[in-house]
C-alpha cells in the first residue's frame, strides 16, 4: 500500500474525475466516443512507456515529438509509394531507432547532457522536416486505414496492442535483467558499473528503444486516418513527460512504475474531453491542465514533507 501510494493517489484522482463525470455528464460514457478517445491515446501510451524508461534511467528525451513527425511522414510517403504495410511499419520503427541512436550516441557516447542533446535534435528534426515538406499533407492510399480492418476491429487492435506492450514492458522491467539494469543505472550509475552493468551501453539502448517505440507509435497514429499531418506529434513530449511524472516516475531517476504512467496518461487525456462535456469554455483549459499537474505533485510533496518532519 505504502509502496504504491503515489500511483494509487493518481488512480483515486482519476476515479474522482470519472465519478464526477458519471453524475454530471453521463454522456461521456457512450461506448463509441470512449473507444475513439482511447484509440487516440494508444500511440501516446506507447511513447509514454518509452519516456518512462528514459526518465527512470535518469535521462530525458524532449525530441520525441519531432521524431514522431519524421516517422509519420516517412512512413506515410513509403505507404503512398505502395510499400506493403508490414514493411512500412518496420521502416518507421527503424527510422525511429536511428534517430534514437543519434540521441543515444551523443548522450552515452559523448556523455553530453540528454536534455540539451534532445533539445538540439528536437529543433533540428522539426526544422529539417518543415524545410523538406513545407507542411504538405501526405495522402495515403485506400485500404491503409485501420490496417485494412473494419473501424471497430482496427480501434480494438490498436488499443490492445498498446496495452499488450504496456504489460510486456511492465513485466520486463520487473523480471528481465535488462529491465532491472535501467532502474539500477537510474538509481546510481557508478554503483551499477561496480555491479558489472555497463551504464553507458544501457542508456544508449534505452534511447534506441525510445526511438523505436516512437516509430511504432507514429504508425499506430498514421493508420487512424487517411492522411498524415506533418505537424502531428508537436507538443507530444510535454504530454508524455507530464503523464510519466504525474504517474509517479521520479525525475531524479530509478523510481517509477509503468502502470502508474498508464493511469497518469488516462487522467491527463480525460481532462480535455471532460471540459468539453462539462461545457467549460476552452479559455480555461491550459490553466486547468497546469493546475492539475501542480496539484498532483504538490500532494506528493506534502506527503514527503510530512515524512521528513
Amino acid at each position: 500500500m505504502k509502496r504504491h501510494f503515489r500511483e494509487l493517489s493518481v488512480a483515486a484522482a482519476l476515479l474522482v474525475v470519472l465519478l464526477g463525470l458519471a453524475i454530471v455528464a453521463p454522456a461521456f460514457f457512450q461506448p463509441q466516443p470512449l473507444l475513439s478517445l482511447l484509440t487516440r491515446e494508444a500511440p501516446t501510451l506507447v511513447v509514454a512507456c518509452g519516456m518512462a524508461l528514459v526518465i527512470i534511467s535518469r535521462q530525458i528525451d524532449i525530441s520525441v515529438g519531432s521524431q514522431f513527425a519524421v516517422c509519420s511522414v516517412c512512413g506515410g510517403l513509403l505507404a503512398a509509394k505502395g510499400w506493403p504495410l508490414p514493411l512500412v511499419f518496420l521502416s518507421s520503427v527503424l527510422f525511429g531507432a536511428i534517430m534514437g541512436a543519434v540521441n543515444g550516441w551523443l548522450v552515452a557516447g559523448l556523455r553530453l547532457p540528454s536534455i540539451v542533446v534532445t533539445l538540439a535534435t528536437m529543433v533540428t528534426w522539426r526544422e529539417a522536416l518543415r524545410w523538406q515538406r513545407q507542411g504538405e499533407f501526405v495522402n495515403l492510399p485506400d485500404g491503409l486505414q485501420w490496417v485494412g480492418l473494419s473501424q471497430i476491429a482496427g480501434q480494438w487492435t490498436l488499443i490492445l496492442a498498446a496495452l499488450a506492450l504496456l504489460v510486456l514492458l511492465a513485466l520486463a522491467t520487473k523480471h528481465l535483467s535488462a529491465g532491472r539494469f535501467v532502474y539500477a543505472v537510474g538509481t546510481d550509475a557508478e554503483a551499477a558499473r561496480l555491479a558489472g552493468i555497463r551504464p553507458q551501453l544501457t542508456i544508449f539502448f534505452v534511447f534506441v528503444f525510445m526511438g523505436a517505440l516512437v516509430g511504432l507509435a507514429a504508425m499506430m497514429n498514421v493508420v487512424q486516418s487517411p492522411q498524415v499531418d506533418p505537424k502531428s506529434g508537436s507538443g507530444l513530449e510535454l504530454k508524455v513527460i507530464a503523464a510519466a511524472v504525474v504517474g509517479g516516475v521520479a525525475v531524479s531517476g530509478g523510481r517509477g512504475k509503468l502502470w502508474g504512467v498508464f493511469v497518469g496518461l488516462l487522467l491527463l487525456a480525460c481532462i480535455s474531453p471532460a471540459l468539453t462535456h462539462l461545457h467549460i469554455e476552452a479559455y480555461w483549459e491550459k490553466a486547468i491542465q497546469g493546475a492539475i499537474i501542480l496539484l498532483a505533485v504538490v500532494a506528493d510533496g506534502l506527503r514527503t514533507r510530512k515524512q521528513r518532519n
Binding site: 530525458i60 551523443l106 559523448l110 556523455r111 553530453l112 547532457p113 536534455i115 540539451v116 542533446v117 533539445l119 538540439a120 535534435t121 528536437m122 529543433v123 533540428t124 522539426r126 526544422e127 529539417a128 518543415r130 524545410w131 510535454l238 513527460i241 507530464a242 511524472v245 521520479a250 525525475v251 531524479s252 479559455y283 480555461w284 483549459e285 491550459k286 490553466a287 486547468i288 491542465q289 497546469g290 493546475a291 499537474i293 501542480l294 505533485v297 504538490v298 506528493d300 510533496g301 506534502l302 514527503t304 514533507r305
Partner: protein, 335 residues
C-alpha cells in the same frame, strides 16, 4: 614561463573563448555575404531583437547554476504583458505604476515557483512545467485569447522602438541587468552559493548556507526579470496579447547551455550566456542577410548546440589529461 604558456592555452581552450571565435566567424562570414549585415542599423537591430530572450537567458543562468530549470518564463512573459496592458488600459494606471505592478506580479509568480520548489522540495522541471501551462492559461483566460492591448502612448513606445543617446533605448536596461547579474553570480557569496548548490545541495546545506533562501531568490528574480522583459516586449511591438513570448523559455535555455553552463549545475558563467545569446542572435539575423530560410536557422542552432557541447567536452578532456600529465611531475593544479 611554462605556467604562463599553460595559462594562455587554458584560456584559449575555455568554452567562452571557443564561443567568441564562433561569434566572430559568424560575423565575418555574414559580413562577407550580406553587404548591409555589418551596418550600425543592423547591429542595433540584432540587439533590439535579442533583448527579451537575452534577459530571460541572463536570469536563467543562476537557476541552471543551481541545477534547476525554469520552463515558465516564456508563459510568464505573456501573462505579464497582458496584465501590464490591463493595468494601464482597464485600471487606468499610469505607465510607471502599471510597470511597477507588473513587476510585482512577476515577483509573485516567481514566488509561486520558488515556494513549490523550496518548501515542498519538488523538482523544478515539473513545477515549472505546471506553471508553464498555468501562466499561459491564465493569460488566455483573462483576455479570452482575443483581447489585444494597443495604442500605448508614444513616450512608452520610445523604450522599445527608438534610440536614446544613439543606442536602442532598451539597451541600457539590458546592460544594467547583465552587469547586475554578472556581479551577483561572480562577485558575491550569493553567486558562489548558487554554484555550490548545483554541485552538492546537501553539502551546501551542511556548510551552513540556507539553500532554500538562495534557491527562492533565483526563481523570484526570474519572475521579476520576466516581467521587465514583458514590458520591453510590449513596447517593442506596440501590442500585448496572450500569445506573447511563446517558446522563449527554450531559446533562453539554449542560449545558456550554448554559453557553457552545465545543465546539471555548478559550472557556468554569465558572460558565457551573453556570448550564447549573441551566437544565436547573429545566426538568426545573418541568415536573413544570407537569404536562407528560417528553417535553416533552427537547424543550425541545433547543430551549433551539439558542436559547442562536444568541443567543450573535448577541451575539458584535454585539460584534465594535461593536468594529469603535469601532476605526475609537479604539484596538482587547483582550478
Amino acid at each position: 614561463m611554462n605556467t604562463d604558456k599553460h595559462g594562455f592555452k587554458a584560456i584559449l581552450l575555455r568554452h567562452e573563448t571557443i564561443l567568441l571565435f564562433v561569434v566572430l566567424l559568424e560575423w565575418l562570414y555574414f559580413n562577407s555575404v550580406g553587404p548591409r549585415f555589418g551596418s550600425v542599423d543592423n547591429t542595433f537591430d540584432i540587439m533590439r531583437h535579442s533583448v527579451e530572450i537575452g534577459l530571460l537567458a541572463l536570469v536563467m543562468t543562476p537557476i541552471i547554476l543551481t541545477g534547476g530549470i525554469d520552463l515558465s518564463v516564456g508563459s510568464l512573459l505573456g501573462l505579464c504583458a497582458i496584465l501590464f496592458g490591463k493595468f494601464w488600459r482597464d485600471a487606468g494606471m499610469s505607465i510607471p505604476l502599471a510597470a511597477a505592478c507588473t513587476i510585482g506580479i512577476g515577483a509573485l509568480a516567481g514566488g509561486l515557483n520558488a515556494t513549490l520548489i523550496t518548501w515542498l522540495r519538488l523538482p523544478p522541471l515539473i513545477v515549472t512545467l505546471g506553471t508553464f501551462s498555468l501562466f499561459r492559461g491564465l493569460a488566455e483566460a483573462i483576455t479570452r485569447g482575443a483581447d489585444t492591448f494597443t495604442n500605448f502612448p508614444a513616450s512608452f513606445l520610445f523604450l522599445g522602438q527608438e534610440r536614446w543617446l544613439g543606442i536602442p533605448a532598451q539597451a541600457p536596461i539590458f546592460i544594467l541587468v547583465a552587469i547586475g547579474i554578472w556581479l551577483l553570480v561572480h562577485r558575491t557569496t550569493f553567486g558562489r552559493s548558487f554554484r555550490a548548490i548545483g554541485f552538492a545541495p546537501e553539502g551546501t546545506r551542511y556548510a551552513g548556507i540556507s539553500v532554500e533562501r538562495r534557491l527562492a531568490m533565483a526563481y523570484v528574480l526570474a519572475g521579476i526579470i520576466a516581467a521587465v522583459a514583458a514590458i520591453i516586449y510590449t513596447s517593442r511591438l506596440g501590442q500585448a496579447k496572450a500569445d506573447a513570448g511563446m517558446g522563449y523559455e527554450l531559446f533562453a535555455i539554449t542560449a545558456v547551455v550554448l554559453g557553457g553552463t552545465s545543465i546539471f549545475g555548478g559550472v557556468g558563467t554569465v558572460h558565457g550566456t551573453l556570448l550564447g545569446v549573441a551566437a544565436i542572435a547573429v545566426l538568426n539575423n545573418g541568415l536573413v542577410h544570407a537569404r536562407q530560410p528560417r528553417e535553416v536557422a533552427g537547424m543550425l542552432t541545433g547543430l551549433l548546440l551539439i558542436l559547442a557541447l562536444t568541443s567543450s567536452i573535448i577541451s575539458k578532456m584535454l585539460a584534465s589529461l594535461n593536468a594529469r600529465r603535469q601532476t605526475s611531475v609537479t604539484k596538482p593544479i587547483i582550478t
